[in-house]
Symmetry: C2
Subunit: 365 residues, 2 copies
């Protein structure tokens, strides 16, 4: 019985999301190296393994350790290498094929002398997002980093990696595809430039919006989407998924009703959902309420959404008819704005089949 | 040595914040029942105990359990009672003096028949904030709830509790005091109305802005601020503290530098800071950078702040001169926007004296 905020997982939807992406990658002839920062769960990781996935992406060394413990042996940390964690890098690289990201000669020099195992380095490329990486046109800088890598026996240059995070600003498939084509074009230029010197400079791209919408990945050898495993309201707003594909919902107990202002107070706040938000029809939305449907959920309830979050409270703006159906002690189910962040805060998943799936509970563990 | 995002705690500042509030409450003749949701740490709780505090506030039953384990025996859950957790309520009420909040006859009826130990009930009053509680003027509803409480042997009516959360919208001491006076006036009306029937209906108020600025608490018997133990940028913006009183800072490794756009990328993202933000001079700010000062920190670095957060990345907008001083592998120290939310995400505190303080790591544990 649900008594506290609980993250529900519809396993069928989740498996369908996984299989759609696996099949798409197969058809397009690219490797799928899914980002596991979204689910952070051994159990869900195994669902990928069972369908043939053997390479994964993580966003921190501690997350990589967690998955290495469950037998994953080829892990990319899609984050500029944190040189202060050299000890953890060495320990992990002794056990698994570890692929790290660099974007400066400095970072290469800082780790190279301290390595005790071989690691693979991708050069982080900025193909338009503008968050991290070397501008794809800055060949001089790229040459310098490759040259620095080649000076060290324990370092292997693996290719170029980018993340088109600006696809999150897109609205609709046309805008998503614009980001996708631009990214591919830029990465293709790079691949052509380095093909002679390095017969196989792998091109790794990937974000959930472009990977969800595109069917062709051009010059890319590998895609790394993560969020698609669950999707969420943000992806639905971008146009990367339909709401029926969203595989997680937060179940929250009703603790107070305020019909005089069309509000319901639930136990479920910023420490469960995170404070990520979207703007929908001019309103700030922290989650959308869906119909209770047995152990799962159904359609959106029109005009019924989380309007604000405190540490533990969620305030739902609700229609009269929804309010009339609810009472203290009921459970309200809410689709999260950003499933990666909500999942990160929770200690596991309750599947709609009643199974409890553990996950990594703290970002630093 | 710091290698990953680490929440630093300046124990001297923290102890000073505690002692200021304890002395203020003593002088004003009110009980200080601090909210422990901010620090969520046994160790820091003991600092309060050592200075004479013996009553605390929590925001969930699981948090109350955590503190009961460390010997706290008089705990108020400042959250509308979640009737689904009746088993936990019974277990906890058998061990400690448990004070819960109700705002409807329905909630009283839902728990009363299932209680196996005595509990104290406060009626949650809305004295102006508009989030939860009975409107302070709705005497009929209040009478009904009191009447429902009086029908049950295991229930004891303790008084009225409010939280003036709208003080967070105030800017400057004058606006904070306006909220404070209005709240006190409304609560005084209520106290006068019920004084004859109930010789001691305790009036419990409290939020960090008003408790930080006010010296007099009028009709209130008890104050429940929490954030003051650390303070943060939000409190500084409201005018509840000076930046010198902020007792926590996040230490984040530098992983990339982008002088061409005046940006520094640090390991430290939404899973460490939370996504709480303030708007400062028209800019959205997720944290402000301070000088490194040995194990602690010094002044703000002008025009150098966290402009965006991804799951694990923080992007700092920095001045030329700050950028020139930083290199990959350095530690940047950042004051958080909302210390309660940042602390909730972290697994402990590193004091500037080098001591590690554990805390409760997951909101649901």
């Amino acid at each position: 019985m649900i008594t506290r905020p609980t993250l529900l997982l519809d396993k069928q939807k989740c498996l369908a999301n996984i299989s759609t992406m696996v099949n798409k990658a197969k058809k397009a002839g690219v490797v799928l190296r899914p980002h596991f920062k979204t689910h952070q769960s051994h159990e869900i990781g195994r669902w990928f393994r069972e369908i043939g996935i053997d390479r994964i992406t993580c966003s921190s060394l501690s997350m990589a350790n967690y998955f290495a413990e469950d037998g994953w042996s080829d892990i990319t940390i899609a984050f500029p290498v944190n040189v202060l964690e050299i000890e953890t890098i060495n320990k992990l690289a002794a056990k698994v094929k570890l692929n790290l990201l660099v974007e400066t000669v400095e970072a290469v020099e800082l780790i190279s002398g301290k390595l005790t195992s071989k690691i693979n380095l991708f050069i982080k490329i900025d193909a338009g997002y503008g968050r991290t990486g070397i501008d794809y046109m800055n060949l001089k800088k790229i040459d310098n980093v490759i040259e620095a890598i080649s000076r060290h026996d324990y370092l292997n240059f693996s290719g170029f990696l980018e993340h088109a995070g600006h696809s999150y600003n897109a609205r609709g498939q046309e805008e998503i595809m614009k980001v996708h084509f631009e990214t591919l074009e830029n990465m293709a230029t790079l691949k052509a430039r380095y093909m002679q010197a390095f017969p196989e400079p792998a091109i790794s791209i990937g974000d959930t919006p472009t990977c969800s919408v595109a069917e062709d990945f051009g010059a890319a050898d590998e895609i790394r989407p993560g969020n698609f495993v669950f999707y969420d309201l943000m992806q639905e707003q971008i146009g990367a998924c339909d709401y029926e594909q969203i595989a997680v919902a937060m179940a929250c107990p009703v603790v107070a009703l305020h019909p005089e202002r069309n509000e319901i107070v639930v136990y479920g706040g910023g420490v469960h959902f995170s404070k990520d938000r979207i703007v929908n029809n001019g309103k700030t939305v922290f989650g959308k309420v869906v119909e209770n449907n047995g152990a799962g959920w159904g359609d959106f309830i029109e005009d019924t959404y989380v309007k604000s979050l405190s540490q533990e409270h969620g305030i739902i703006k609700a229609t009269d008819s929804f309010l009339k159906r609810k009472k203290i002690g009921d459970i309200v189910k809410i689709l999260p704005v950003h499933s990666c962040m909500a999942a990160d805060l929770m200690d596991g998943y309750l599947t709609t089949d009643g199974e409890w799936l553990e996950k990594r509970v703290n970002s630093l563990s």
